[in-house]
Symmetry: C2
Subunit: 334 residues, 2 copies
């Protein structure tokens, strides 16, 4: 861990560490979130933020770095349902990567063997990815069943009571009527039958590692194309969603193109370009991974249609100029 | 600053510091951004991120803390236009706070006097806010004219040439045709007439301080209301944009309310609530600062209209149930 000191004096009482993961802040806030919002078990708390590890040997681009962006969910559930929720999150998280364009062949979920598991865990899955710089798949995310280990540990250290973070089992949403519930059952009955320390399912991922995987996955080479290198980002991840080009910067074409650009730009990151040949403009957008280019040409003046060019196969279709933003929304499902 | 060490050994060669501001990373990347994107002067680079200061005495909630979120723009412009751009950013940034609901009476822009200014600066404005915990206005943001001080300093330290970050003055967008430009003019002519180290205008703001100001500003008390305390967030900043309530959880009202909720939820953070009296549900949303509540009642079944309740004055109007999302978009201008 990275060690530092707060305040003016550097002695052992002022020693602090940069957090090596974001998770513990969630556990510390668990009770606060339960009491101040209207959630009930099962629910999750998600956090994204910087974490720091004093790597002796940072390497592989941003794969292993001393400062990184971590994204974690702590999902709190009834122990009786924790295996089901573990399987739910494991499958959901695998599907998340696939749905954002990580090809299944490079994505390698690896369920840890029994001998690797902590005693409190019924399972942990590492979602691994085969980076081009590596012979072996590397971890992007871990989905861990952590049982009640963390909440019990925090209870013990804060109140010397490992059951400090018990919750009451209820089928109705929690609200101010917790008192009513206590009235209707004996305290003894509640304690034995309906209280538990929640189990935790923890999907914990590195945002930088995922970004690096997205870039590796998107990099494409096709020597038949005018600009052979291009980035095949999933449209939802493409930094520029669309470009608008008048074929030439005259003959009334910019006058048709500009309103289309302004409409798209309100909703999505987009670029407008009038310079150089249309081929160069397409190539530039291919390199940036822009999935769709709208081109306004002579025919646009006659019939009101524009060309939509698809980055992946360079195919072109014509649509009515009034439908550009709608078309983009359909394609991006945004 | 916070001091630490990288790697296994703690000696002077491994000493590192946590960054006290985000700005320097932008200057370091200035040339890279110029060369790899198609921007031309004037343009800005914006960044938001964590910064760290070893405050001896952190206080006033999140106002002065050791770890904070900073948001900065370095705007690069022609020295001849730098005063104009300084005034542009100073006014734009003041307007930004006002447009997000910070009342002008509490917002106190303070132009630094000549004696406070650095020698290279033609002006600096501190945008200050009068927090309830303080007798004097406190800084939320500084808008500084920094001249060419930073780029010259970086040039000197990287290449021992304070003109290392000179750019060529052009009226056309930069592109790969820089070579053409050089052909058409003699190198000597270019050097004397058309090269300059850009001046920098720097709006530098604390995201945490702004958030604290928003909370202070939103806190409202009206003893005539059922729930006297409520948060009058500007709708664009409200964490929940809308709530949907069936007046009662029967008589076919949830069947009308649920599709409305699902439609809104796709576009905006929204809540659905069927529990307790409608007054309690409104009060809960007032406390969370939700600007609009849609209520489905008996009349909704007859004429297809629903009630929209406005948080600020508790006024109610009826609109067609098909127009809820559209109404919200209009009100939020999102």
């Amino acid at each position: 861990m990275f060690e530092s000191h707060t305040g003016a004096l550097q002695d052992s009482s002022s020693k602090v560490y940069l957090r090596p993961e974001t998770a513990q802040g969630i556990f510390v806030n668990f009770k606060n979130v339960m009491d101040s919002t209207r959630v009930k078990i099962p629910f999750g708390i998600a956090q994204i933020g910087k974490a720091f590890r004093n790597e002796v040997n940072p390497r592989n681009f941003t794969f292993r770095s001393r400062e990184f962006e971590q994204m974690e969910i702590e999902f709190f559930c009834n122990p009786k349902e924790s295996r089901m929720w573990y399987e739910f999150w494991r499958d959901l998280r695998k599907g998340w990567y696939t749905s954002l364009g990580i090809k299944s062949g490079n994505l390698r979920p690896r369920e840890q063997g029994k001998e690797e598991l902590a005693h409190y865990s019924v399972g942990t899955t590492d979602i691994e990815y085969l980076f081009p710089f590596s012979d072996e798949p590397q971890e992007l995310e871990g989905v861990a069943h952590r049982g009640d280990f963390d909440l019990k540990a925090h209870g013990k250290h804060s109140k010397n009571n490992e059951n400090a973070f018990e919750v009451i089992e209820e089928s109705e949403p929690r609200s101010s009527d917790r008192a009513d519930l206590a009235d209707s059952e004996s305290p003894r009955g509640l304690k034995s039958a309906a209280r538990f320390v929640p189990h935790v399912i923890e999907p914990s991922a590195g945002a930088d590692r995922f970004t690096l995987a997205v870039i590796c996955e998107a990099y494409s080479f096709d020597e038949k194309r005018a600009s052979p290198e291009f980035m095949k980002f999933h449209p939802r991840l493409a930094p520029i969603k669309a470009a608008v080009f008048p074929l030439v910067a005259k003959d009334g074409l910019p006058e048709i193109a500009e309103p289309i650009f302004r409409e798209i730009k309100k909703a999505f990151p987009a670029q407008y370009d009038v310079k150089q040949s249309i081929g160069k403009r397409y190539a530039r957008m291919d390199e940036a991974g822009t999935p769709f280019c709208f081109t306004i040409d002579g025919q646009s003046k006659e019939d009101g249609t524009v060309t939509v060019r698809n980055r992946d196969d360079a195919s072109q279709i014509r649509i009515d100029k009034s439908r550009c933003l709608e078309y983009l929304r359909e394609q991006l499902r945004l």
